[in-house]
Amino acid sequence: MKERISGKKCFITGGAGFIGSYLSETLLEQGCTVTVYDNLVTGRREWLEKCAGNSQFRFIQGDLVDYGNLERNMAGHDVVWHFGANTNMVIGSKDPNVDFTNGLVATYNVLNAMKNSNITELLFPSSGAVYGDIARPPANEAYGPLLPVSTYGAAKLSAEGWISTYSHLFGIRSWIFRFGNVLGARMTHGVIFDLLGKLRSNNRELEVLADGTGEKNYFLIEECIAGMLHAYNHSNHVGCEIFNLGSESTTRVSEIVRVILEETGNTQTRIRYTGGERGWPGDQPRVYMSVEKMKSLGWSAKFKSDDAVRQAVRRYLSKA
């Protein structure tokens, strides 16, 4: 059966990044034309090797802050996947102003370029981080109040607000996905990435932030992309719609540590928890999101969170 996405001209910001590069591969397989627009700050050309030979693929090195360049290159596409984001959003760094406002300006520029080029479909990765500390778990898409505790979450919620407004005012149809933690061989940050890095430099003692009771939902990159495509192909909403996307279960940090030590064969490593509930200011210790809405659309992740974690650790290790 031909899916709605087939044959669409897709424009992917941040398309050379972890999620964007898998997305590009998948969309080409689905018969789409793909343009990747990426400044290669965190993205990598080699992650697009599989795409590079495809005649339907084009790569443009460009920055989202460069509006003229963005609009010129976006024109003529059908669907925008806005995955370019400043991943370095920890406040307290040298010049947070640049990081933070650039992130907002980037989303704003994407929306304006769409408006000015009459592009009417947008897919955007938001995050469970918009929920902040969830007082009444699990949080579904209608949960409120939305009081994010991290700059990352605040930037995502801000972007959601702008997307909602542009959708209403300028006839754009938007899919906003609030992701759980996405895992895969190309991940560039996150707890598994960090712990494996630490173990490589010292396998006698493993320092783990907070007290190990943190608990979130983890899922694999291919499921993340399949879920988004399912929502694109099957949701009939008009305007703006939000979908929680992740696995149905959660995994504790202490369990992640156990799996990592087991998979790396480190039986003698001493685990040292730094203590406290949060790993860093802005950490959300527990994120329970309801994925019932995606289920009612006919999609759910096949891997449980624990299995996704083990899979991701194996993939990362076999790649390294």
Binding site: I91, P96, N97, F100, T101, L104, V105, Y108, N112, K115, V130, G132, D133, E141, A142, Y143, G144, P145, L146, L147, P148, V149, S150, T151, G153, A154, A155, L157, S158, E160, G161, W162, S164, T165, H168, L169, G239, C240, I242, P281, G282
Partner: protein, 312 residues
């Protein structure tokens, strides 16, 4: 208390300044670019100083905020229609400016921020009465988007840096010194021509209004009594007059007998206008706040002041 008020020379700001100055222990700094605020709105007082600068100028803001106990962040783009033509106006004056305020507070260890948000964050929710925990939030105006973005940033700064945020989602604030909005527009139009009053939309738009003094009461009350890192409250009255009621009241208050009201039609005044807003205010009422003025009383009061020419 040493308070800094961004947008302090504007409508709400200048009323807030007056209230703060009634306490001789308060020192007030107004930080305003005077783009819509006016120096003449401000009273003369030894307790008051004015810094003419823009919130987009992070350097000046950082300098100005040092040494204050609390920031009332009231500056914003007041002109929603212009925000539709110049789409980066709200992004800059709302979102980026709020980021600058928070960052300036962080580096100077200033821990308390009061922020007037608005019902615009709720977007179009129809006839239901919305409480603070309503979701999803789908704003439909630049104004609503920028208020939501500002709320999000205040929330994360308060959590990450042990600050306290007081976010008030206000109804339409009216009172002495109005510079824009439906009352201001109707009075201005009728002073120019008495025969016809053109009303945007079908006149059935329904919103809660709030008297500026009631809004200021709420700001003071929450800073005294609310205890969370981020304290979020709807603040409004419980009656929701229609735009056509406001039109008729303005006409009556101006003693005009033969004015014809002409509606442009459609359910809303402009793109991004939310035709019906009803706010559940039980949360702030539980904290002890009550409004002195109903919507209708606040509107009538504001109409009279606007006709007189405000503080004239």
């Amino acid at each position: 208390m040493k308070a800094l008020i961004t947008g302090g020379a504007g409508f709400i700001g200048s009323n807030l300044v007056r209230r703060l100055l009634t306490n001789p222990d308060n020192q007030v700094t107004v930080f305003d670019n005077l783009s819509s605020g006016k120096e003449s709105n401000l009273p003369r007082s030894d307790q008051l100083s004015l810094i003419k600068a823009d919130t987009l100028d992070l350097g000046s803001l950082r300098e100005a905020i040092r040494g204050h106990d609390i920031v009332f962040h009231l500056s914003t783009n007041p002109d929603t229609a212009r925000g539709l033509r110049e789409t980066d106006l709200d992004l800059k004056q709302g979102t980026i400016a709020t980021y600058n305020v928070l960052e300036s507070m962080r580096v100077n260890d200033v821990r308390r921020i009061v922020f007037p948000s608005g019902s615009g964050v709720y977007g179009e929710v129809g006839d239901r009465i919305v409480a603070e925990d309503y979701g999803p939030l789908f704003p439909i105006s630049m104004y609503g988007a920028t208020k939501l973005a500002a709320e999000a940033m205040i929330s994360c700064f308060c959590h990450a840096f042990d600050m306290r945020g007081y976010i008030l989602r206000l109804g339409n604030v009216v009172g002495d010194g109005l510079t824009h909005g439906v009352i201001f527009d109707f009075v201005r139009k009728l002073k120019a021509t008495k025969e016809v009053l053109t009303v945007l939309g079908d006149g059935n738009q329904t919103k809660p209004y709030i008297h500026v003094q009631d809004a200021i009461d709420a700001m003071f009350l929450v800073t005294e009594r609310a205890r969370d890192h981020v304290n979020l409250f709807n603040v409004a009255t419980d009656d929701w007059p229609t735009v056509s009621w406001i039109a008729q009241t303005v006409i009556a208050e101006m003693d005009l007998k033969h004015t014809k009201v002409q509606y442009t039609g459609g359910d809303r005044g402009w793109k991004g206008d939310v035709p019906i807003i009803k706010l559940d205010t039980s949360r702030i009422r539980k904290l002890g706040w009550k409004n002195q003025y109903s919507s209708r009383e606040a509107i009538r009061n504001a109409i009279r002041l606007t006709i007189k020419g405000n503080r004239a």
